[in-house]
Symmetry: C2
Subunit: 464 residues, 2 copies
Amino acid sequence: MDYHKVTEQELRRLREIIPEDRILTGEEIGEDYSHDELGGITNAPEVLIRVLSTEEISEIMKYANCQHIPVVVRGSGTGLVGASVALHGGIMLETTGMNRILELDTENLTVTVEPGVLLMELSQFAEENDFLYPPDPGEKSATIGGNISTNAGGMRAVKYGVTRDYVRGLTVVLPTGEVIKLGGKVVKNSSGYSLKDLMIGSEGTLGIITEAVLKLVALPKVSVSLLIPFADMDAALEAVPEIIKSKAVPTAIEFMERGTILFAEEYLGKKFPDSKSDAYILLTFDGNSLEQVERDYDTVAKLCIDRGALDVYIVDTDERKQSVWSARGAFLEAIKASTTAMDECDVVVPRNRVADFIKFTHQLAQEIGMRIPSFGHAGDGNLHVYLCRDEMEEKEWQKKLDTVFDAMYRKAEEYHGLVSGEHGIGFAKRRYLSRQYGEAQMRIMRGIKLAFDPNGILNPGKVV
Amino acid sequence: MDYHKVTEQELRRLREIIPEDRILTGEEIGEDYSHDELGGITNAPEVLIRVLSTEEISEIMKYANCQHIPVVVRGSGTGLVGASVALHGGIMLETTGMNRILELDTENLTVTVEPGVLLMELSQFAEENDFLYPPDPGEKSATIGGNISTNAGGMRAVKYGVTRDYVRGLTVVLPTGEVIKLGGKVVKNSSGYSLKDLMIGSEGTLGIITEAVLKLVALPKVSVSLLIPFADMDAALEAVPEIIKSKAVPTAIEFMERGTILFAEEYLGKKFPDSKSDAYILLTFDGNSLEQVERDYDTVAKLCIDRGALDVYIVDTDERKQSVWSARGAFLEAIKASTTAMDECDVVVPRNRVADFIKFTHQLAQEIGMRIPSFGHAGDGNLHVYLCRDEMEEKEWQKKLDTVFDAMYRKAEEYHGLVSGEHGIGFAKRRYLSRQYGEAQMRIMRGIKLAFDPNGILNPGKVV
């Protein structure tokens, strides 16, 4: 695709839409805007615009669409697959200034937000009002617009589902500049093809989310976590399908290995309650009465002890919760700090294949001579597996990366898993997506892209 | 669009794919296959094929796509908007023979079914295995394929959500005959545009569902209903947002008026527990302990009494539950039996606008001189409003139908509601959909249709 460059003439037009102090070019932009959190792909936009409203975005898109200027949207830039990188230069729209919580509707149990609200701001606002916004991805400084764009999942998906399940309505600026409203505060909807569900998880390639109506639930009155050590990862992970089978419905079931905990302790400068064992599962249970929550976690604790758990730590004080969950939240950063470079595999497999998949990554690590730590959401089958460069030469690293990714995605496919559980496809995982989906699905996705974005100007080179 | 007719030559080819005894033509087909449950639009297919497998459907579609023969899929034919009517003749595929429950996976909490399994068969199977399939539309003899195609909602949406929330994976035959797999047993998915969510609610226009992986939940151990009479509908419906606000989370909140109950009593030949009052709300609460369920319903019962409820009947015996819920299930048929012809409006509005909307339909009924009974899902804002012909002449009926539909959809729009909560758009509601959505959304939907069905052969003339 041949795109138009942003020259002085284009800047003059953009300054008619947006005040000059919110338009940055060249050196002013800053290196951070050339990459995302994982940094596998790097390119700078020609112009960075700090947008503040639906109307501004609509005007910019009308102009960019006419002129064939590529546009990419960026929230906090915490993505891991390069989805927010301006591959073709052009215009980058930064939405972090659109960070107002617009309305709490206690009769419809919804909150209406702008896309730049951070996940931590939203969850705090909800809790202050005695509500819970259930999606709970590890990266709390991500924007809610970014969370919707990747259909972020997080820890509580076992009980509560993912971001998709909490998006009731969206206001979207199309690549043509037209503004559409999808869904609303309504609970049911069978009114035509679900464009709302297409937007969710489309990684900024189909339209620009400028407002979201999100569903809230009542804040559970009680929440208790269990930290359960096992002698090895196999034993830990094999307990998980049994927990699911017991119908106890934990809020979260995370798994972690000793090595990752040690990195997190070092990274945070704080002790984890226990790090003597090789493998752990961390569960949360929530509900409205202590009896009910106790009944649930008792069942699970007994089940784990029967299956060889070494102990069961009850994490019920605020201090202990803080220490355990802040460590869990720091795993990605801690592993990143432990190596020279890394890449990530975010596969999702059926929950009863997690143990097999992790065993496979351990074998792969040995065979190929690469450190491959992992942690993740055992309860929903979504694994975060990290490929660490450590002391490798660039050439060796690239070669091994290819081999390992290839082997892991093939194994996931064999288990009827999918390429991404929650981090998306972006730029980095495109070829694995098209390999798994095949020609028919990719052709339909390209057709959908064309229906939304006939000139191919919005986030080109991503997903499809 | 110019379609190819089914002549002896086409039948010869079809008989090479499907045994002759499952191919019906002309008079053999039967009048039922010309319309759906509401019967607003009528047309016979040229050929009816009783399909039994993905492979058969794939072969038929490859041929039909080449020859430009229109194809429509029919389950039980319980639709209300003409979505399964063969508007352009051609081939009708009947899926009721594909009615096997293929697998119960207790480790992943999924059940895999063919599309012709009836909702009542699925829910019975789930309960026999100590699981619940939560979606609970009134029409229990609908197929699960039809439920997915309309994103059916049902009574339990207040607590459990709609069909969309329980579809984990689909096998789909595309209009081109290609077979694709969407989703799977995985709980999270951020792997490209969600074609699975596009298929759900697409009313047989984008592809043919031949297998579905559905999510189950643990069967709640306790379930209690409350029947609460009020002096009038306003008082009954105004209590509902307060119930939602109380965060008690009922499984269902239905509303019904005295007239509808009397029709149902007559239709079923059975007494309802109480029919002295003008308006009722019927709630269910479920959970794993009686104490918890009692706590929830106590809160709600007190709240309703405070707001003028005349009484609170606790429906906890199997016999009483049966009498109340079988009446609720018979409302549509009972109203249908009470008049010469009827049409339906299935709007969904934010939950706190239900009272206003129903008040509006009462005014409209008076002004226009038409009987407009209603019932529906007060807890999720999805209303079923019936326009009854009674003794009207055809011309008067058609004119008043137009006026009333027009007024109701405009009012729903004013309240930020949508055309259909769960029955879909099909043929009957197309113009209201396009009026509400406007050109940009309709253009995108047509583009999506084209991406799936380049020759426009699958269920033409529906939705878009």
